[in-house]
């Protein structure tokens, strides 16, 4: 993975000093709340319901063991012994003290980490396929381009004060595992008819109040033009994006109001005038690629016979292999998920002890690296098959081996009303309710892949629009209600789910999910996936079952939720 040289180190060190001084000026009364807010936000610092929240960048989800140990140290010393992995592959701390944040940043800088641009109206942490570099279905590894864009967009003087936040997601694989089409800019590495690899560029995806799937603005962009094309998009957006209404300020609104074709014309016209001034040369790309070379794999890894023996002898291990590991492009290696979705734990939460354990396992079994995924788990990308049994035993010991990856309980969940000052409703308690109701893993395995995503407000940090099952918390006169959507997707077939009807009371959510799953089981054809079934039969049968027996009066009363 990428390693800082002295230039990168100088930049993060100077950023720590700059933020230390901004904090000092705020505490001294030289900066008002309104002035400090945008400054602290672009360094990932929110003032939340009970305490500040600090969001630390994990560029495209890559971590080294020493960095994970630093997360543990920060959790112990400055927080309440845990952190929370978010859908942008970042980690968040919920209980730091404002005046200690500069010290936390200094610790982070010592292991080549920072909180730069993890919030604020600027280019945010760039996310990527969590299987980058190890997936068999990959055209090319997206990570070198992510790092090139990360550096280019860090403190970019023209684009640090955009109308609204700006998210870029990249995938180099045939299967989109990075929710690319839900980003402000989505990039797919693709091969054209001449066999050259370049980018398919999409713009205008985003969740929130006005969910939109991104539209294609260029089918093929040569790699050398990557930065100039993004610059053209950002310039048009910076100049023409709305600034009068925060809810209409994302680039998706500009794309929608101009129309995709007109937007594309503007970008192309701008780009034609500027592209020769910002060429990404082959040698620069090759230099960056040198950081993302595969580790020294054991070429005879597949000769190992122990994996097969352990699978045969230990059904629990066999289940974990089946559910929580994935094939690797190199024979004899597998990708192993670290489930942060144990029942009774808020999805994405991890304790300091678990972080230390993950760091140790990374050193022992995964070339010292670990990744975070956009669905709030961790993973080891390069595990020798002979090490899987030992790894599983260690994961189990730390409650990180719940074999539920890809199932209903591997859900995305925002922090919700328990922490977030924007939230209308609790989401963690609904996750708990669902976990309790669906504790039977065999039932979940029978259901196959289901992506459940839940947000505690319209800002959609929990990606509910893109869930096969989406849950949105709303507030009605101080009471929490929950809307259910079906049929959303974050994949290649990205789509917004359809709302099945009026919002439900808090205690009814898991029961409603159970009814939805009953309908699925009855209607399912063969091994059909839940999403395919919803698309085939539509939401009506689900709606009918969920609301059967609910008095029409009550439905009307809830209807405006």
């Amino acid at each position: 993975m990428y390693r800082y040289d002295h230039f990168d180190q100088i930049i993060v060190n100077e950023r720590v000093q700059q933020f230390r001084d901004q904090t000092r000026r705020f505490l001294a009364g030289e900066l008002s709340d309104d002035e400090f807010r945008p400054l602290r936000l672009r360094n990932g610092l929110y003032i939340q319901r009970y305490a500040p929240m600090l969001r630390v960048a994990v560029p495209y989800g890559l971590l080294r063991s020493e960095q994970v140990r630093m997360f543990a140290h920060i959790a112990r010393r400055y927080d309440r012994n845990y952190g929370h992995f978010s859908t942008r592959q970042n980690i968040q701390y919920n209980w730091p003290k404002l005046e200690e944040v500069p010290d936390i940043l200094e610790h982070l800088a010592s292991v080549q980490m920072h909180a730069i641009q993890t919030s604020g109206n600027c280019v945010r942490n760039i996310t990527a396929d969590h299987l980058a570099g190890v997936a068999a279905d990959e055209v090319e590894d997206p990570r070198p381009y992510c790092e090139i864009m990360r550096q280019w967009s860090t403190f970019h003087p023209e684009f640090n004060w955009l109308p609204r936040k700006f998210k870029i997601g990249v995938s180099g694989a045939a299967t989109d595992r990075a929710a690319v089409q839900w980003h402000d800019i989505g990039l797919y590495l693709v091969r054209n008819s001449q066999g050259e690899v370049g980018f398919k560029v999409l713009v205008g995806g985003g969740m929130g109040r006005m969910p939109m799937v991104a539209v294609v603005v260029r089918e093929f962009l040569e790699k050398k033009h990557l930065l100039s094309y993004i610059e053209a998009i950002l310039r048009i957006y910076n100049l023409e994006g709305r600034r009068d209404n925060i809810h209409r300020a994302r680039i998706k609104v500009l794309v929608k109001s101009l129309g995709a074709e007109k937007f594309r014309e503007k970008v192309e016209a701008e780009w034609l005038r500027t592209r020769d001034g910002l060429i990404l040369r082959d040698q620069e790309i090759e230099w960056m690629k040198s950081y993302f070379q595969p580790p020294a794999y054991d070429r005879s890894a597949a000769d190992d016979k122990t994996l097969e023996r352990h699978i045969a002898a230990d059904p629990a291990f066999a289940t974990w292999i089946k559910r929580n590991t994935r094939p690797h492009k190199v024979e004899g290696y597998r990708v192993a998920f670290v489930s942060l979705k144990a029942p009774g734990v808020a999805p994405g939460d991890i304790t300091a002890e678990q972080l230390d354990a993950v760091a140790d396992m990374a050193d022992k079994y995964n070339f010292g690296e670990v990744r975070s995924t956009h669905d709030q788990n961790l993973l080891f990308s390069d595990v020798h098959q002979a090490h899987l049994y030992a790894l599983w035993n260690e994961l189990k010991r730390h409650d990180l081996a719940t074999p539920n990856i890809g199932t209903l309980t591997d859900m995305i969940c925002c922090p919700g009303l328990d922490f977030c000052s924007l939230a209308n409703a609790s989401s963690i308690s609904i996750a708990k309710q669902i976990n309790e109701r669906f504790a039977d893993l065999d039932y979940l395995y029978d259901l196959g892949e289901i992506q459940l995503k839940m947000s505690g407000c319209m800002n959609a940090c929990g990606h509910h629009h893109a869930g096969h099952i989406g849950i949105l918390g709303v507030d009605k006169d101080g009471v929490e209600f929950y809307q259910i959507q079906l049929g959303g997707s974050a994949g290649n077939d990205a789509a917004e789910g359809d709302r099945i009807g009026p919002a439900l009371a808090k205690g009814e959510v898991a029961a409603a999910i159970a009814k939805i799953l009953e309908v699925f089981v009855e209607q399912r054809e063969g091994e059909e996936l839940f999403l395919d079934c919803v698309r085939r039969i539509g939401i009506e049968p689900f709606k009918a079952r969920v609301y059967a027996g609910v008095e029409s009066k009550k439905v009307r009363a809830y209807a405006h939720n």
Binding site: Q22, E35, T154, F155, R235, R273, M288
Partner: protein
Amino acid sequence: MRIIDKALQVTEDDWQLLDDDGDLPDDGGVIVSVARWQKEREALSAREGRLGLKIAGDTPLETIAPDLGRFALLALEFPKFVDGRCFSQARLLRGRYGYRGELRAVGDVVRDTIDFMRRCGIDSYALRPDKNAEDALEAFREFSVRYQGAADGAVPIYRQRR
């Protein structure tokens, strides 16, 4: 007007921002809006003193491009410090339109944005009156390395590394 000038010194200068209906002084530098320039082009051109033009985030630069040579100064207006449109306006003026006169930031101009401004080609700064200009000069010393090129001629880091 008390400003940070091109040499990064805090100075007073005699540029005056004129209202659209304010009297036109006989001499000294005056900065007018695009609307006033378009309405009073002849009177403004006939005048002795230097002329400046105030540009907002939504001013279409192509409409004023033919006149740019007449202005010794362009004042870029930041209505709120978080409104970033004039960063792009500055880069376009320096790059696409080849403007070589003074680019001045006016409006909600604060310490924490002026380094970005400088990198976009702005070279003088009329700080908000309640802000300490000497203190703001620190902003230009906060970063010694730049990741990307901009109007300041910084060499992108990936080229410094080779």
